[in-house]
């Protein structure tokens, strides 16, 4: 099945090094796709390519079958929203002001904040349960709260595709769970880079595993997460308990070396 967002033998070189090496994948409408792989495998780079923030040197990223490179940035931003791994700012921005940034792709310079903009902002704050902190300075929030606000900003873009780069980084287990449950429940197609195999198995519909810039496995969590794959990609011994998490999802038990 051809996804709405897809990569066709995409390659990308940075600093003379081939970071992404002929990656093809398709994201089905409404699914939550996890991108896995060890450090330096190219997860973040692939995510930026899918968002159109970097231009592929070979192959193409397609949105509805059209090369992303041929679509105007503003039009892309009305469809695809990105939550980067760690962002910072020097400005005194309130939570509400940050979420309002998400409306930029939808409005022209002469039109101020319209009803539609305000509604989208309110809804995004509600969905991420950040309404209560809308007037607070973003920099005074905890890491998890900051991350939720960035997701609210992305949702205010009213995207159909939401790309998130390690959104669970630096969060405790409960917040990791809440965040991934939120992403899963959202009415969007989500692509998420993750480190934690257990979380990936629990929350993703599909998984793509990268190693050295190539796809080494793709499919459902049950198909992808095998003892052999974990051993060959991460160099770690693990026991995979099929249906260990229920609902056909495996659970992973790491073994001492």
């Amino acid at each position: 099945m051809t996804g709405l967002l897809a990569a066709e033998s995409v390659s990308w070189t940075a600093g003379g090094r081939l970071v992404i090496d002929g990656v093809s994948l398709a994201v089905a409408d409404g699914e939550t796709l996890g991108l896995l792989g060890p450090n330096g495998a190219g997860k973040s780079s692939l995510l930026r390519l899918l968002a159109g923030l970097r231009r592929a040197d070979g192959g193409a990223v397609l949105l509805d079958g059209r090369p992303l490179a041929d679509i105007r940035r503003r039009v892309v931003a009305q469809r695809i929203a990105v939550v980067e791994q760690q962002v910072s700012t020097d400005l005194d921005l309130t939570v509400e002001q940050i979420v309002q940034l998400g409306r930029i792709p939808h409005r022209g310079i002469w039109s101020g904040d319209t009803e539609a903009d305000n509604r989208a902002v309110d809804r995004a704050l509600e969905q991420t349960e950040t309404t209560a902190m809308r007037d607070r300075d973003w920099r005074t929030l905890s890491g998890g709260e900051q991350q939720r606000v960035q997701i609210a900003r992305a949702l205010a873009q009213e995207p159909r595709e939401l790309l998130l780069d390690e959104p669970t980084n630096h969060l405790d287990i409960r917040h990791q769970f809440e965040l991934l449950a939120l992403i899963r429940a959202l009415p969007v197609t989500a692509v998420v880079t993750l480190h934690d195999l257990t979380l990936a198995a629990l929350f993703c519909d599909g998984l793509v595993v990268l190693d050295k810039g190539r796809v080494v496995a793709a499919g459902t969590p049950a198909e992808v997460l095998t003892t052999e794959l974990i051993s060959s990609v991460y160099g770690v011994a693990a026991r995979v308990i099929s249906d260990g998490a229920g609902d056909g999802r495996p659970s992973i038990q790491l073994l001492p070396p």
């Binding site: 930026r48 503003r74 039009v75 695809i80 002001q97 930029i104 873009q157």
Partner: protein
Amino acid sequence: MLGGAVLALSVAAAMILGPADLGIGDVYAVVAQHLWGRPADIAPIDDGIVWELRLPRALLAAICGAGLGICGAILQSLMRNPLADPFMLGISSGASTGAVLVVVAGVGGALTLSGGAFVGAVIAFVLVLALAAVSGGGQDRVLLAGVAGTQLFSAATALVVFSSADAQQTRGVLFWLLGSLAGAGWSQVALCGFVCAACLAICWLQSDALDAFAFGRDAAAALGVSVRRVRIILLMTTALLTAVLVSAAGAIGFVGLVLPHAARMLVGPSHRRLLPVTAITGAVFLVWVDAAARTVFAPQELPVGVVTALVGVPIFMWLLARRRRIR
């Protein structure tokens, strides 16, 4: 609206201040005579002081304050560096090199000091951007290239001054380098006013794009901003505006650095409001600073850049201290 009223009052006040004893009534009579042709019983010398000296000077101060403030606000947002200002791209030192080459070394034939300053500013800017592009093009690269360019052109200026200037010329050049609105005339007001208004309009139209840079270039691109195009448009605009202002009034420091921060505290970081407010606060600030520069030690006049630094540095240090508390 309120800002506009404060600005008008400031210009009016600046026109009353000065060694010649003129009251608000005299000033009003002169302006009314010129604007609406209302006949007035004013001595020609007083008329000249108000209409040919004080009014264009106050207006040029307002324009320079507004323009430098806008340039600072744009560069701080674009570079995501709260310490960026219009002179970090090597523009002012390039302008001084151009100016001393014309005035002291007699290069360039028919070029005036202003013309030389403009050419120098543009050359320095192009050189800095080329250097930044060669070294990778990141925003820190632009800053580093700016530092390198500034040092290079400052050295070149010093070289020219020491090798061929006499004491009189050196004093004149130094005075100009520190910023002076003493030479203000109507032609400069018209040119600078037009360029400043046009640049403010161009920048204001990019307000949303500038807001989008709050979390960096990738974040801006993800919000639909054509990062390359916007950066080129805004860098060219600020460079042109700075070059024009520097060639008219010399290198007036600290306005572009400090005023955008003050404006941000007043109205927050959204550029739709920040840019106009920065322009007006910058204009009011420089009108008063210039009025102080020419009256405090009258009849001796201070370079306006000295006063902006004297006022600006304490404000700047307070801003730095405040930033640390937030962290």
